[in-house]
């Protein structure tokens, strides 16, 4: 009845209130009516004839409950108990009334009015009017309104009287009454009624809150929600009096406004997250794995923005604003020989000419200790920013990894394979029917595959062939790797030859050969790996990991080949530098001598900085190489995107009208989004940034630009020309894998950078560290000149190996300790999990046992009852038999085993039922049935199957 009560909506309550309102001060009457109402309902359940018979005692209004109950139970033994319970319930909670109750009430009312000819109603009205007059604050208008309303009400009642011959009054009446009542109520409510109203409103509110968890159909929920909201809205304002009410209404309004504002603010916040909506859209079309790439891209973008901020704000801008202007010193000027072509696009595109002699590269920076009026320590800042970017990156990556590791938790994927698949494989973010189809298909296939796997794990017939194929595949991949490595090595060697010849004599193709070949190999080899991996016949997840590992090896090999080539080039440049250094000293001497000879009194000749000979600044060269690599990489990515995805999509789409087979479904088809390749590309790109950022401060800026563009371009390309993957993966597990890769790459890319910084002396005439023996000398210099003496002494003590080594040892120990504790925690976790599982099983067993026992008892009771009835029928209700029955309840099964019960059983039919079942083993179906909990018949199960189910295990228990 509670459910019913909840659904009844507005009319119910309104009617209740109306009724109570009408009979203000007639509580007793009310109570009596309630009683009658209950009777009425009970009567309704019974037949019409009975109703007619019961009419009299009801009218008399003096009810003997017990007597009537007995009568009822006599008449209808089945429903009697239930009715009683209901009656009790209704009495106990007045507020909760079912619709039927109310309707009955109305009927009752109508009947009464028929009897009393509306006399009472008039009385009530008078009474209330007098009460109102007692209240001094009541205004005339209100009274008028009341009168009017009451008149209307009266009319309504007459209508009700007219229609009361029907069993149920129409609902429309109730509704109308409500509407009219609304204006009247607030002024005329007594405190008691207000309290009730408040209660009702609270109840509604509670209902609204708990609605989500109710096991109702959606339609019912919606209807209930709407009605409850309407009710609450209507009557909430009525609570409180006068000023208080106004204030309350105001408060309610403000709460609503506030909530709306909060919701809007949430929306706004979501809108503020960059590209959130785009990513969500992609997620809904392509599943979360593709979206995870874009989220990763966004994350990378954020990191690059910070790196960019650091380098831009602390290095580039101070140098550009406060450092010496362009053309003031040789390192800030384009040399005379290059001046003619310094502004050509081809040169600028290669980051030569004016681009080379600008803040974008290492060589432009001056070794002046402090620049500008701020006394900004430029070299120190340069060094610290270089170190800081790397340190920040480490920090961020490791922190993210740790957070992800927390989320992943303790995973044992193998134990509930099918359950996981069953309950967790759906990706709830999918919003596109096609993707949903794909996901559905992929889940189905995964089920099929898992079943096949399970089957095949038992019989390994062709293991040798599989092994051979796997070895073959790896061999082929190794060949590919070696081939690509050799090709890059060959190209780099050739480019060195070109460099010695002079780059101007060669074509653009030859000059950019290294970058081109690297990009092309990085693009095509993964495809080949993908094809080769089809040989191996791995599970797709395993295959994906292999694929990632192979691509990783390829990229790493390519990158390190490139770095080794760069190292060679650095050595070449340094040899060149030595020669230039020697030449310059002779040139300076010559210059000085010349002037001395010519005219001793003339002022020293001012030489244009462009004419001054200079060394081959190897740092700038490295920076340039990295920038070129990034640019060519970006270009290749975009061009592949345009050709491989867009052009293909266009061709497939429009050639399909006039082609002899279906291009869309068959052969070329649309491309799929390659998550792993893209992620790895991004990671390696980032690695190059980390490597080169020290020598080319513009790299983070370039990368930010690149990521920004590729965000838009790839979002567009994905939505426009890719189709959802045929096997839609969920991305949950792979995130940390990518992060681990990023960490490895970060380490591997900082390695060469640190190596060059530590071992190779900086160029003598370019960059912020020129003139120093090593780049990190800048720190020592700062310590000596900018800090008090005691600080540098402390620092020198602190950097003493005797102190540093123990510290490092301590750190290692701490790390070891933390590691081992985390390990033990993990083990404890697993242990706890196991325990939980065990306990769960134990509980299951226990409840099953309890259920079995209860069932057994119930069955015995039933049997006893049936025996009783039969005994009564057979007229053989002797005491002895009863005793036997009692005994049987306790040890039936025992007796049954001995076969003594034949005498006790009057009904041989039941016996036949039990006997064969006793020897049967428990079937799995029984188990499932019993686990469900309390004993009882399932609606579909025949009665006779029940003892069979319970008896078999119970016998085993003995």
């Amino acid at each position: 009845t509670q459910c019913l009560c909840a659904t009844t909506g507005v009319e119910d309550e309104a009617a209740t209130f109306q009724q109570e309102h009408r009979h203000t001060g007639r509580r007793r009457d009310n109570d009596r009516e309630k009683k009658r109402k209950n009777e009425r309902r009970r009567k309704r359940r019974a037949s019409k004839a009975e109703e007619a018979g019961d009419e009299l005692p009801e009218r008399s209004e003096k009810t003997d409950k017990s007597r009537r109950r007995r009568a009822k139970t006599d008449q209808e033994p089945k429903t009697g108990v239930k009715e009683d319970g209901e009656q009790f319930k209704v009495k106990s909670e007045k507020a909760a009334k079912s619709r039927k109750d109310v309707k009955n009430e109305k009927n009752k009312k109508a009947e009464q009015e028929e009897a009393e000819a509306g006399e009472r109603n008039a009385k009530g009205k008078k009474r209330r009017e007098s009460a109102q007059k007692d209240e001094k604050e009541v205004k005339q208008e209100k009274v008028a309104v009341n009168k009017k309303a009451q008149k209307v009400k009266k009319k309504k009642h007459k209508e009700v009287v007219e229609t009361s011959s029907e069993p149920e009054t129409s609902e429309a009446d109730g509704d109308e009454e409500d509407d009219e009542e609304k204006e009247v109520r607030p002024e005329t409510l007594s405190a008691e009624e207000l309290e009730m109203l408040k209660e009702a409103v609270d109840e509604r509110k509670k209902l609204i809150q708990s609605l989500r968890g109710k096991p109702w159909p959606m339609k019912k929920k919606l209807v209930t929600l709407r009605e409850s909201q309407k009710f609450v809205e209507k009557y909430e304002g009525a609570l409180g009096k006068g000023k208080g009410r106004k204030f309350y209404a105001y408060k309610v309004m403000m709460t609503k406004k506030w909530m709306k504002f909060q919701r809007d603010f949430e929306n706004f916040k979501t809108a503020c997250i960059p590209w959130e909506m785009k990513i969500k859209e992609i997620e809904s079309h392509f599943g979360s794995s593709v979206a995870s790439y874009f989220i990763f891209l966004r994350w990378m973008y954020g990191i690059n923005l910070i790196l960019f901020g650091l380098t831009f704000g602390l290095v580039m801008v101070p140098e550009a604003l406060m450092g010496r202007p362009y053309g003031s010193i040789p390192r800030k000027t384009v040399p005379r020989a290059e001046e003619a072509s310094a502004m050509d696009f081809a040169v600028l595109w290669d980051f030569g000419g004016y681009a080379q002699y600008s803040v974008l590269f290492y060589g432009y920076y001056n070794n002046q200790r402090a620049v500008g009026w701020l006394k900004f320590r430029m070299p120190l800042s340069y060094f610290l920013v270089g170190v800081g970017t790397v340190a920040y990156s480490y920090m961020v990556v490791i922190r993210t990894m740790a957070r992800n590791a927390n989320e992943s938790g303790v995973g044992d994927d193998n134990s509930f394979n099918f359950s996981w698949k069953m309950f967790t494989s759906w990706d709830y973010l999918i919003g596109n029917p096609e993707t949903a189809d794909n996901k559905f298909a992929s889940i189905t296939t995964s089920f099929k595959e898992a079943i096949l796997e399970e089957q095949e794990s038992h019989k390994d017939d062709n293991i040798h062939l599989t092994r051979f194929l796997r070895v073959l595949a790896n061999f082929l991949v190794l060949c590919c790797l070696a081939g690509s490595g050799y090709l890059i090595y060959f190209v780099v060697r050739r480019s060195q030859k070109f460099a010695i010849d002079g780059l101007e004599n060669h074509t653009w193709w030859e000059r950019n050969e290294v970058n081109m070949v690297m990009s092309l190999l990085g693009m095509f080899c993964p495809m080949l790996f993908d094809v080769i991996s089809a040989l191996e016949n791995y599970h797709p997840r395993v295959a994906l990991q292999w694929q990632l590992g192979r691509i990783f090896a390829l990229f790493l090999g390519n990158l390190y080949t490139f770095i080794i080539a760069l190292m060679d080039e650095i050595n070449l440049k340094r040899d060149e530098e030595k020669i230039v250094k020697f030449n310059i000293s002779t040139w300076e001497a010559g210059l000085f001598n010349g002037t001395l000879w010519e005219n001793s009194t003339a002022p020293p000749v001012t030489i244009q900085p462009a004419d001054v000979p200079r060394g081959p600044c190897w740092e700038t060269m490295v920076g340039q190489e990295f920038v070129r690599l990034i640019i060519s990489d970006t270009m290749t990515t975009y061009i592949t995107l345009l050709i491989g995805d867009f052009l293909r999509a266009v061709l497939v789409r429009f050639l399909n009208y006039c082609w002899c087979w279906d291009l869309e479904a068959g052969f070329p088809s649309y491309s799929e989004f390659d998550v792993s390749g893209n992620v790895l590309g991004l990671i390696f790109n980032q690695g190059m940034i980390w490597m080169g950022a020290f020598y080319a401060p513009c790299l983070p800026a370039l990368n930010v630009l690149r990521l920004h563009v590729s965000m838009y371009l790839q979002c567009w390309a994905v939505m426009c020309c890719n189709v959802p993957q045929e096997r839609v993966f969920k991305a949950s597990g792979s995130n940390n894998f990518y992060m681990a890769m990023l960490l490895v790459i970060l380490f591997l890319s900082t390695l060469p950078a640190i190596y060059t910084i530590v071992t190779i002396p900086p160029s003598f005439d370019c960059g912020p560290f020129s003139g120093k023996k090593r780049m990190f000398d800048v720190i020592q210099e700062t310590l000596e000149s900018d800090f008090p003496a005691w600080f540098s002494r402390v620092f020198s003590y602190a950097s003493n190996p005797g102190l540093v080594l123990p510290f490092i040892l301590l750190m290692v120990l701490a790390i070891y300790y933390l590691q081992s504790t985390s390990k033990s925690y993990r083990e404890a976790n697993v242990e706890l999990k196991k325990k939980l599982q065990m306990q769960n099983e134990e509980n299951k067993k226990k409840s099953k046992r309890a259920a079995l026992k209860a069932q057994l008892d119930l069955e015995e009771a039933r049997k006893a009852a049936s025996q009783n009835t039969e005994q009564q029928k057979n007229n053989s209700g002797s005491l002895q038999d009863l005793e036997v029955d009692e005994e049987e309840k306790h040890c039936t099964s025992h007796r049954m085993r001995h076969g003594k019960n034949e005498r006790d059983h009057p009904s041989p039919g039941g016996d036949k039922d039990h006997q064969p079942a006793a020897t049967r083993a428990p079937v799995p179906r029984t188990y499932h049935h019993d686990v469900r909990g309390p004993p009882g018949y399932l609606p579909g199960f025949p009665r006779q199957s029940e003892p069979r189910m319970s008896r078999a295990p119970s016998l085993q228990r003995h």
């Binding site: 060959f490 030859e510 050969e513 095509f524 002899c660 087979w661 279906d662 479904a665 068959g666 052969f667």
Partner: protein, 259 residues
């Protein structure tokens, strides 16, 4: 101009394409190059060559043997896009379940599917086979007779399908088609299906089976059946006949009527 190293860098791409689409290349070789070569060499059409082979190798009057011989020729010698043994089994099963009395076959090509259907038909059923090409129709006639089916079982109609379908009711006195098998031009699947709907020959429970809906493919047809809601449909996924790696499907439609 372009350095050889850059050209070499494209080698993986080339290899990838060759490996990934090897079945298509093989198919191209077998279905197009070999056919052109043999056409020039023998002066006979492909269907005639197939018939000659069947005539010499198969047992007359035995449909199974004829089908097997066709399969052998198509997989070992040349390629003809018959329905093939694997998809043929699905077709057989559908026919057994349905046991239709009037069957329409659109596009009999060289009689393989005609024999296949006729073999599975119940007693008293009739198969109307529509073939557009005169030469092919002659071969179909011979193959069907060779398999031992007479005019009562198989009726061959030599006309384009879009002309035949509107006249089926008037010329052949058909009231209802229980089973329709489509294996002619893929572009004609949709218009022919709509013609069938318009002619009112499809009743509730009539089955339409269309071969090769994924490769070479009939995307418009698939889109239509997905959208129109007149059919209960599913696609039996298989590979293309006589070829392992090319995926193909056979659409099975059950007409539900307008609800």
């Amino acid at each position: 101009m372009v350095s050889p190293a850059i050209a070499l860098a494209f080698l993986p791409l080339l290899l990838t394409l060759i490996i990934r689409y090897r079945y298509f290349f093989v198919l191209f070789y077998r279905a197009v190059l070999v056919r052109i070569w043999n056409d020039c060499a023998t002066g006979l059409s492909r269907e005639e060559r197939a018939f000659q082979y069947v005539l010499t190798q198969a047992t007359p009057g035995d449909p199974d043997s004829i089908l097997d011989t066709f399969d052998l020729w198509c997989s070992k010698v040349e390629f003809i896009s018959n329905i093939g043994p694997k998809k043929g089994k699905i077709l057989d099963r559908l026919l057994m379940e349905q046991s239709p009395l009037t069957v329409l076959e659109l596009g009999s090509h060289c009689g393989y599917s005609t024999v296949r259907i006729a073999r599975a038909l119940p007693l008293g059923a009739r198969l109307y086979s529509v073939e557009m090409d005169q030469g092919n129709a002659a071969i179909v006639e011979k193959v069907v007779r060779l398999a031992g089916f007479d005019d009562d079982t198989v009726e061959l109609i030599v006309n384009p399908s879009d002309e035949v379908i509107p006249r089926l009711r008037s010329d052949y006195g058909l009231e209802r088609l229980d089973f329709v098998f489509m294996d002619h031009w893929k572009k004609c699947y949709l218009p022919d299906l709509q013609l069938l709907e318009g002619s009112g020959l499809l009743g509730k429970g009539s089955m339409v089976v269309a071969d090769n809906v994924l490769f070479p493919g009939a995307p418009k047809f698939l889109r239509y059946i997905r959208k129109c809601g007149l059919y209960e449909w599913k696609i039996h996924r298989a590979t293309l006949e006589y070829s392992r790696g090319v995926r193909d499907g056979m659409a099975e439609l059950v007409f539900q009527g307008i609800k």
